[in-house]
């Protein structure tokens, strides 16, 4: 595992550590003693069917509401005790579209930069940089309305990078995209991992988005059933491909959700 060098903090903590987190809504237990780690410089796939608890986990990590039990740390910062420091180090791409379609790409990015306290001039430089990373720098002044779904997704990735987070969360980022757009989104994020050493947590229910050397975390009915790299997953399940492994681990028969 490659760990990015020259950290200004003393130890080099993992990008995201979730330990022993449970969460309930009323009587319904949505997360049951969930623990997982996203190292830096690693592409970690959070694999789970719809309703597995992925969104609740994301809500807790992004501090939409506080975790009542356990602990969540982003690059060593506790989300509940030092939310500001933790959120400064976290980039998020939400499942739903969150750009203002009436505004231009740049205006959207500047708004987000402001939310992280960046001054105007710096924000403009960074917006340009981020758009270059996702290959849309020539369209900075176009309205978001004119973008395709895949392009809008890439803008959201650019936006999540503005404050230079060390940990990037993506919640089903490829939902509703065509194959070409999906591939380009995945490729961009994988390059961020390999070139810039980000720790990425990629939540999905699409098994074919897993690469052979990815880390996989299988979340099913609020419980983590497996954490490890793909070869270990196959070994643990005694199968030859990830799809079968997922089915064996979760005991699910139908393929439609885990397609």
């Amino acid at each position: 595992m490659s760990i990015a060098s020259t950290s200004s903090e003393t130890p080099s903590p993992d990008a995201l550590v979730v330990s022993n987190v449970s969460h309930s809504f009323g009587d319904k237990r949505v997360l049951d003693n969930v623990s997982l780690t996203v190292p830096r410089g690693a592409f970690s796939v959070l694999l789970g069917l719809n309703g597995a608890g992925k969104s609740t986990l994301f809500a807790l990590v992004t501090r939409l509401y506080d975790n009542v039990t356990g602990e969540i740390r982003i690059l060593g910062r506790d989300v509940r005790r030092t939310p500001g420091a933790a959120l400064q180090r976290l980039g998020v791409v939400f499942q739903s579209r969150t750009l203002d379609s009436d505004l231009s790409l740049q205006q959207n990015l500047l708004y987000h930069a402001a939310l992280h306290g960046l001054g105007r001039r710096e924000a403009k430089t960074r917006a340009q940089e981020s758009l270059e990373i996702v290959g849309l720098s020539d369209r900075a002044h176009e309205k978001v309305r004119n973008l395709s779904g895949g392009q809008a997704r890439r803008v959201e990735i650019a936006r999540s990078l503005l404050h230079r987070p060390g940990c990037l969360l993506l919640d089903e980022p490829t939902v509703g995209l065509d194959i070409g757009s999906r591939e380009s989104v995945i490729q961009i994020v994988r390059e961020l991992v390999s070139r810039q050493g980000l720790g990425v947590l990629w939540a999905t229910h699409l098994i074919d988005e897993i690469a052979p050397d990815d880390r996989v975390i299988v979340l099913h009915k609020g419980q983590v059933l497996f954490t490890g790299h793909v070869p270990e997953l196959l070994k643990a399940a005694g199968t030859t491909n990830a799809r079968d492994a997922f089915r064996v681990l979760t005991g699910t028969q139908s393929e439609e959700d885990a397609a």
Partner: protein
């Protein structure tokens, strides 16, 4: 699609602390986005202006024969009914704007724009307050556009009134905005605008001093009078009414200033703001208990 490599790695730069200028940048960014969005939605601007004008041109014109308004402060002569209801219509602009922005919060909550706001590292109360001030800035633009049209309809408050009304509009806007913010965090059913009209806007607007002076209401229904007296909207209307004539409040019989309107508006603002911040608090808040933004209504 090829990506362009950027020279230096983006991670491993410890974020700076959030100092005063960072707060300022954040505040400015939120307000700027609200105003920008408003300016880009021409239909919204148009309908925000047409609504009070319909009341002014049609309702007030028709009613002016029915309802005579005697000389009451701050007016020094008999005034036309149009003049009387202008402050109420300004308050209506504020109320609609507040409810619309609170609705957009509910809508945002579903679409995720609200979540984008809430993952900002700044304290949540600061974010909500900035958002609120942004929506008041939009309301202020609408109110002045309305006053400009009123001027040509020969509703001409004293020149000084155009300046003194601004703080009143801002304060009343904050109160109604904070109220709407609180409502948006509590009530899911608000997604339907008709519901908002029926249960919030109409009752608040009609049970107030916007359309008729309170003494007239007391004559016809003491109960309604009491309701009007607790309605925060009444105080917003009266605050604007006096401010439009360069006054903070009515003079009491002993010559001292009656600041009730001001105090009540400030009090309600603090109360609703506190309630909204509580509701959006990640550990105590109402969002957490209900499954939160993005959770499917069940």
């Amino acid at each position: 699609m090829n990506t362009v490599e950027v020279g230096r790695p983006m991670v491993d730069q410890a974020p700076r602390g959030l100092g005063f200028f960072a707060y300022l940048a954040c505040f400015r960014g939120i307000v700027w986005r609200e105003v920008l969005r408003f300016l880009h939605q021409r239909e919204r601007f148009f309908s925000a202006l047409v609504r009070p004008l319909v009341w002014l041109f049609i309702f007030a014109a028709g009613f002016r024969q029915v309802l005579g308004v005697s000389i009451i402060p701050p007016y020094q002569t008999y005034v036309l009914y149009e003049t009387f209801i202008t402050p109420g219509l300004i308050a209506m602009i504020l109320l609609f704007n507040a409810m619309q922005s609170s609705l957009s919060m509910v809508y945002d909550r579903e679409t995720g724009a609200m979540r984008t706001l809430l993952v900002s590292p700044f304290p949540r109360s600061f974010l909500l307050l900035s958002k609120l001030i942004g929506s008041v800035a939009v309301a202020l633009l609408q109110a002045y556009a309305f006053l400009a049209v009123c001027y040509f309809w020969e509703i001409e408050p004293p020149f000084i009134g155009y300046f003194t009304v601004a703080p009143a509009i801002i304060l009343a806007g904050l109160m109604l905005g904070a109220m709407a913010l609180f409502i948006s965090s509590v009530i899911r059913q608000l997604e339907n605008f008709a519901g908002v009209m029926n249960f919030v806007i109409f009752p608040m607007f009609f049970a107030s001093s916007a359309l008729y002076p309170l003494w007239r209401i007391r004559e016809s229904s003491p109960l309604l009078y009491e309701i009007c007296k607790v309605n925060p909207f009444t105080y917003a209307v009266e605050l604007i009414r006096f401010a439009l004539y360069g006054q903070v409040g009515p003079r009491l019989s002993d010559g001292s200033l009656d600041l009730t309107n001001l105090y009540v508006v400030i009090g309600y603002t603090v109360f609703f703001l506190g309630a909204a911040v509580y509701a959006y608090n990640p550990s105590k808040g109402l969002i957490a208990r209900r499954g939160g933004p993005g959770a499917k209504a069940s």
